[in-house]
């Protein structure tokens, strides 16, 4: 088989083997760990880029393991949706990895760096494995890998992080278990685990109760893992106490992956007819998303600690995506998929800023941001860019996804969703100006604070993300045309 159609394996294999090599090096030759990591992630990113381009030209690519035909062995089917998500994962993990090179030295004791990076790359393998797989049970196994390695990585941040991660572990396992029960019901009814085959068998059993139960279990399981409104309790607790180098990787991708799985199940397993016509829970779900946005924004305002504010902003952003998805209008679905890209970059940038402020100014209170604007140049620029995107100021990507969400919501008559969107934009505007006013209207401290020269390994990824946010916005047309090919014909 030529190099090109081995790509789906390379994209997963490279981080897996990097992790294993780092595992060996951590014990044998700890100095080489960082270099191998860099080589691994760059080659992986390159592979994902070529995969994305080949999928764009020649449509869906299939890859069977142990070349057993589809339903009997495990099969990868890579269409535009997962090629796009893999590209996103690699972009975010490349930037997070560069950022972590310095932040791990500050946060994690030196004798554990090798082990930390092994788990880091296993987490990346899990994330990519979830996105690329075409087999429901294989997806569960990779979900376990992600979950376990994220528990270990999150808990490595000291006493309080361990306790918070324990709660996350309990709730996360319940979520994964619900997903598995759902897949089990599907298996019993259709006898196969391959998503393609599930898609063919399911229409014949639309109106049986076991399909409904499977749908409910899979949905609730994924809602727990993506921290949608009523089940979001674990997210702020974990992301405020966990080490920055982990949250930089996990926060942008962890919750977005569950949304990707949801989209994959809605469009390519249950089928849009089932989701949008047979079950008429659309108004309920849009109301749930609206509540998620409002509650997320309100809590974000009332928290003064920076990282808990961001955590609640993430909860609100999840409400955007789910709301956009459930509105069902092609514009809003395309906007919600586009918002997955935009929101991951935004969350990554927010946590990098939290990191630099924490490392250099040792505090997260709003007063610390008065000093940030004075002393940390690059951090304040990226703070302005990221909040412009969250609020939705035109050149940034946040504006475009919000615009198309409102457009779709109006077309389908969900006005409460539009009100929630605008409320959350004003809420995030308020949050930003609370930080900016702390700087602009406060007397400069007596010995004029000197400009801190931020470490190059911090500033490089930050600049990368900020330009990414703006670039993603300006090239909205291209992404919109790419994404609108994903939406199945039934909804278009």
């Amino acid at each position: 088989m030529s190099m090109i159609n081995q790509l789906p394996f390379y994209v997963v294999g490279i981080p897996l083997f990097t992790a294993l090599i780092i595992g060996v090096l951590a014990i044998v030759q700890p100095k080489l760990v960082r270099l191998t990591g860099l080589v691994g992630i760059i080659s992986g990113a390159y592979a994902s880029l070529t995969l994305f381009l080949t999928v764009q030209q020649s449509g869906t690519k299939y890859y069977t393991f142990g070349n057993w035909p589809a339903p009997y062995g495990i099969e990868y089917s890579v269409d535009t949706l997962n090629a796009l998500m893999i590209l996103l994962i690699y972009a975010v993990s490349l930037l997070a990895y560069v950022y972590s090179l310095r932040s791990v030295i500050i946060e994690i004791p030196s004798n554990k760096h090798g082990y930390y990076y092994t788990l880091y790359f296993l987490l990346i393998t899990g994330l990519i494995g979830i996105t690329i797989t075409g087999d429901a049970f294989n997806l569960y196994v990779l979900y376990e890998i992600c979950a376990l390695s994220s528990y270990a990585l999150l808990a490595s941040g000291g006493k309080r992080a361990t306790l918070a991660t324990f709660y996350y572990l309990l709730i996360g396992t319940v979520g994964a278990c619900f997903y598995l029960i759902g897949v089990a019901y599907l298996f019993i009814k259709t006898g196969t685990l391959n998503m393609g085959q599930l898609f063919e068998h399911i229409p014949s059993i639309y109106f049986t109760s076991s399909i409904l139960v499977a749908f409910i279990f899979i949905n609730v399981g994924l809602f727990i893992k993506m921290a949608l409104f009523p089940l979001h309790g674990w997210l702020p607790n974990v992301y405020t106490k966990a080490p920055i180098s982990t949250t930089c990787l996990l926060a942008p991708l962890g919750t977005k992956l569950s949304i990707y799985i949801l989209i994959r199940f809605y469009f390519h397993v249950f089928g849009p007819e089932y989701v949008f016509q047979v079950l008429n829970i659309q108004p309920f779900m849009v109301w749930l998303a609206t509540l998620a946005i409002i509650v997320g924004s309100v809590y974000a305002i009332f928290h003064t600690n920076y990282r808990s504010t961001i955590a609640f902003i993430i909860v609100a952003e999840i409400g955007y995506i789910i709301g956009g998805l459930w509105i069902g209008h092609p514009d809003s679905i395309a906007a919600s998929i586009y918002h997955i890209l935009a929101d991951s970059l935004m969350t990554l940038s927010l946590f990098m800023i939290a990191g630099t402020v924490l490392f250099y100014l040792k505090s997260e209170k709003t007063s610390a941001f008065a000093l940030t604007f004075r002393q940390l140049r690059i951090t304040s620029i990226s703070l302005v860019v990221v909040f412009a995107s969250i609020v939705g100021i035109p050149p940034t990507s946040g504006f475009f996804s919000k615009m198309y969400l409102i457009k779709g919501a109006f077309a389908m008559g969900h006005y409460q969703f539009i009100v929630a969107l605008l409320f959350s934009s004003l809420a995030s505007l308020f949050i930003f100006f609370r930080l900016f006013e702390a700087y602009f209207y406060s007397k400069p401290p007596e010995p004029a604070p000197s400009i801190i020269k931020e470490d190059r390994l911090f500033t490089l990824p930050m600049i990368g993300v900020s330009t990414g946010i703006i670039l993603l916005g300006v090239t909205f047309n291209y992404w919109f045309s790419v994404i609108s090919r994903i939406i199945p014909v039934g909804l278009r």
Binding site: I27, F65, N67, Y72, P109, V141, I145, K189, T208
Partner: protein, 334 residues
């Protein structure tokens, strides 16, 4: 399987589960939990899934009870359990009833047990039953599916074991910053136990190796064999003391072996990629292994892969035990 025994076992399992949650003394609830796993193992055998029963017995009853006991030495024995306030109780009650109802609702139109027309028996499993032996020469179907058809899943399961070991090791390993608190366990030097265990350990390890090697023909395989080998090491650690065991297999070497186990599995699957076939396609090994056709190459590679799994699982169980018992200091402990 007589219907009577099945329902009896299910009721017993239910009682044990409730009792193990209800008891306030942790040690006894761990013992009850061990009993619960043994009964689950009987139920699996009743349902005909012997491999799963074997794993449940080895892991569920055997090793996890040991881990729980090891943990209890470093934490409290009594539950300081603040009773939930009423609202939390009501909420969790609704949650459980709701899930239960949903599960029951789902059951209503599932196909009856083993009925031949149901899709679950005609779709994928029929293919395995008919062609597994022809394609891989492995009489034990479960191992064939486990190690060849869905080998990718098993590779990641081994990764899960490896992550568990590495995670526990990394979290508990003391980095010298926190003050070390005195552990309550003291090594025992009872002669009788030492002699008995020194007599038994070789047989256990021999049996473990037999289980690994014999995975193709009888229930067992890399995972169960690895657990037994790990248990033998734990037995030695319990009979003697940690210092003694560390000479046998030091912590660094344990972690290294754990990684090498996964590398064996993944590496074995990577070679076909270099030979131009898809990942984990064992028939590519026919070219390398002298005098084996494609089908025999499959069964041999399954054995190799099982060995990889056994190594990782052995080091995994041993590593977890060592971290838990010595609370990350690896010097004194049970």
């Amino acid at each position: 399987m007589l219907l009577g025994i099945e329902t009896l076992l299910l009721i017993l399992v239910l009682i044990l589960a409730v009792v193990s949650l209800w008891i306030r003394d942790l040690m006894s609830s761990v013992v009850v939990f061990g009993a619960y796993s043994f009964l689950m193992c009987l139920i699996w055998t009743g349902m005909g899934a012997v491999d799963v029963a074997f794993t449940e017995a080895a892991v569920g009853a055997g090793v996890s009870t040991v881990f729980f006991v090891a943990v209890l030495f470093n934490t409290t024995r009594r539950i300081q359990f603040n009773p939930l306030d009423l609202s939390a109780k009501i909420f969790s009650a609704i949650l459980c009833i709701g899930t239960g109802y949903l599960l029951m609702l789902g059951l209503s139109d599932l196909p009856s047990w083993g009925d031949p027309q149901a899709l679950v028996n005609t779709n994928v499993s029929k293919y395995y039953i008919e062609s597994a032996y022809k394609q891989t020469k492995v009489p034990n179907l479960v191992t064939a599916v486990l190690a060849d058809y869905r080998a990718f899943d098993t590779m990641f399961e081994t990764c899960v074991v490896f992550i568990a070991v590495l995670g526990i090791f990394m979290l508990l390993k003391k980095d010298g910053r926190e003050p070390l608190k005195e552990t309550s366990a003291k090594a025992n030097d009872n002669l009788i136990i030492r002699v008995a265990s020194r007599f038994m350990v070789p047989f256990i390890q021999l049996f473990g190796l037999y289980v690994v090697a014999h995975g193709h023909y009888s229930p067992g395989g890399g995972f169960q064999g690895g657990v037994i080998l790990g248990a033998s090491l734990i037995l030695v650690a319990m009979a003697f003391n940690i210092e003694f065991v560390k000479q046998l297999l030091s912590i660094k070497r344990m972690l290294l072996l754990a990684v090498i186990g996964v590398i064996i599995f993944a590496g074995w699957g990577l070679v076909p990629v270099f030979l131009g076939q898809s990942f984990l396609d064992y028939s590519a090994w026919a070219a390398l292994l002298p005098g084996t056709g494609e089908i025999m190459a499959r069964s041999h590679s399954m054995l190799a892969v099982e060995i990889g799994v056994a190594i990782t699982v052995m080091c995994g169980m041993y590593g977890i035990y060592m971290s838990l018992v010595s609370d990350g200091r690896f010097d004194k402990g049970l």
